[in-house]
Amino acid sequence: MSAVPLLKVRDVSKFYGSRIGCRNVSFELYPGEVLAVVGESGSGKTTLLSCLSTRLMPSSGMIEYHMRDGQYRDLAHMGEAARRFLMRTDWGFVHQNPADGLRMTVSAGANVGERLMAVGDRHYGNIRASASDWLRRVEIGEDRIDDQPRAFSGGMRQRLQIARNLVTSPRLVFMDEPTGGLDVSVQARLLDLVRGLVHDLGLAAIIVTHDLAVARLLSHRMMVMKDGAVIEQGLTDRVLDDPREPYTQLLVSSILQV
């Protein structure tokens, strides 16, 4: 791991009128590191993720990103064009519902190729070759390259969404409940895949989940949120095996044992 953080977050708060979305969240994320944000519904996980990925403007606080040119840029002060460019090149965003992150009416190949075309790739053969390569890497048969995602199962759609995000070799990927709504065996394979990709590509990732098992499998570090604030953070194994806050203890003890 590099000694320079990829993302520096200081005192980020988001208020919806008088209601609190999230409050005074600070952390640093290093390249290749996977951070899980856990907590129950309504604890501010998704609000925080939206603020970090510039989908929402934080009410206060600062988020700085280490650009490829070595400079730190304050996301709030970047122009919209630069921010959107960052979103589709250096970042990825995996939605809980694949339909939100995919174009359902164009083929799988075009879904994967869109980001390449957006950054100026104008060679059909090359675009198709990368699309085909990425489909193989996410275990989708290459003969499905011309099928629309509508014809895919939930697990395949989620894998396609991941391929679509990773094709431009981003350095940071945001994931919002990536395994939500999938059955356990499909979940297991998806987790395996994500873990492999994150390791091979050296991706940094921020994963929002309420599933502690997902957090344990994927993440190095973990933040526990409650009522919009981070109440505990540390190494994933430490937090899950030795929770200090009463709420975290409750959360960990609520895991169903089969």
Binding site: R84, E114, R122, Y124, I145
Partner: protein, 297 residues
């Protein structure tokens, strides 16, 4: 009292013309950018060229010579009625000859005869937004134009190739104007796209229902989008025009009978007639004249 007294010159009131001229000036200043304008109700249904008619009405002067074509022809319903409309409300000279016209209003074709400096081509546009069928939200497409995010346009071409093995878009083929805005050239066949590039004439586009005006000023770069390994190509025809023998022109298929008889003729009727008047003859010229005579005998 003649009919003219009941109308302002060229039908629209002067304030409306002024508003449309402002939009046109802005459109010329930003080639390919869709300028919103307060489109008026016209005495014709949407989809019949209300946008083109408003643009023509705003730029028309008493000295202009107007030509109106519909799919290349001067004698189809849309062309005849719009021409008659401007004769009535502006008492303007009309022509069917491309070289004589100062303003040419067109639906779906660019004349074969290269346009000259001083001429203005007015297009009737049904859907001005090239990204419409890829991204239905107007708020989003405007943002994409503003930020020059045109990756999606190539997604459409990619889909074409993956489905058909080649770019199957044959009309309304997207172009990039002066290296900046992606523009829908209106539903002209892609055969006509190269004519827009560095054209000497001013090209104005009016979309009445969608309330947009855009323009390509003279001598502007207009490039059809493509892939490096699937370059842009125009349609080619196996045979020349059956009436005038012209090659490298856009042809229409005309069904002659119910036994599979058909002929391919110039879609630009003025071009075809002009060539025949100069002695060119296609393979079926004599036979069609013969057939036409039969009922009279």
């Amino acid at each position: 009292m003649n009919d003219l007294a009941t109308y302002n010159f060229a039908y629209l009131d002067e304030q409306t013309k002024r508003m449309i001229r402002r939009a046109i000036l802005k459109a010329i200043a930003i080639p390919g950018y869709q300028v919103p304008f307060a489109s008026r109700e016209m005495p014709m249904p949407y989809g019949w060229g209300t946008g083109g008619v408003q643009v023509t009405a705003s730029i028309l002067g008493p000295d202009d010579v107007l030509k109106v074509i519909d799919q290349g022809a001067d004698d189809t319903t849309n062309a005849v009625s719009i021409r008659a409309f401007f004769q009535k409300v502006a008492n303007v000279a009309v022509t069917t000859k491309t070289v004589e016209a100062t303003i040419i209003q067109t639906r779906h074709r660019i004349p074969e005869e290269p346009l000259k400096e001083g001429q203005t081509l007015v297009y009737q546009v049904p859907i001005p937004e090239p990204l419409r069928f890829l991204e239905p939200r107007e708020t989003e497409t405007r943002k994409m134009h503003a930020l020059e995010e045109y990756g999606l346009m190539h997604v459409k071409l990619y889909e074409d190739i993956s489905r058909n093995g080649h770019i199957a878009t044959t009309y309304a083929y997207p172009v990039k104007v002066e290296g900046r805005y992606v523009m829908d050239p209106s539903p002209t066949p892609k055969f006509d796209n190269p004519k827009m590039h560095m054209s000497e004439a001013l090209q104005l586009f009016g979309a009445g229902r969608e309330k947009r005006i855009y323009a390509v000023p003279p001598f502007t770069e207009v490039v059809s989008l493509d892939f490096e390994d699937h370059p842009f190509e125009i349609q080619t025809f196996e045979k020349p025009c059956a009436l005038c023998g012209a090659e490298n022109v856009y042809l229409d298929e005309v069904v002659l009978d119910d036994r599979g008889g058909r002929m391919f003729v110039c879609s630009d009727t003025d071009h075809c007639e002009d060539r025949r008047a100069h002695g060119h003859a296609g393979s079926m010229l004599a036979s069609t004249q013969h057939q036409r005579k039969e009922p009279a005998e």
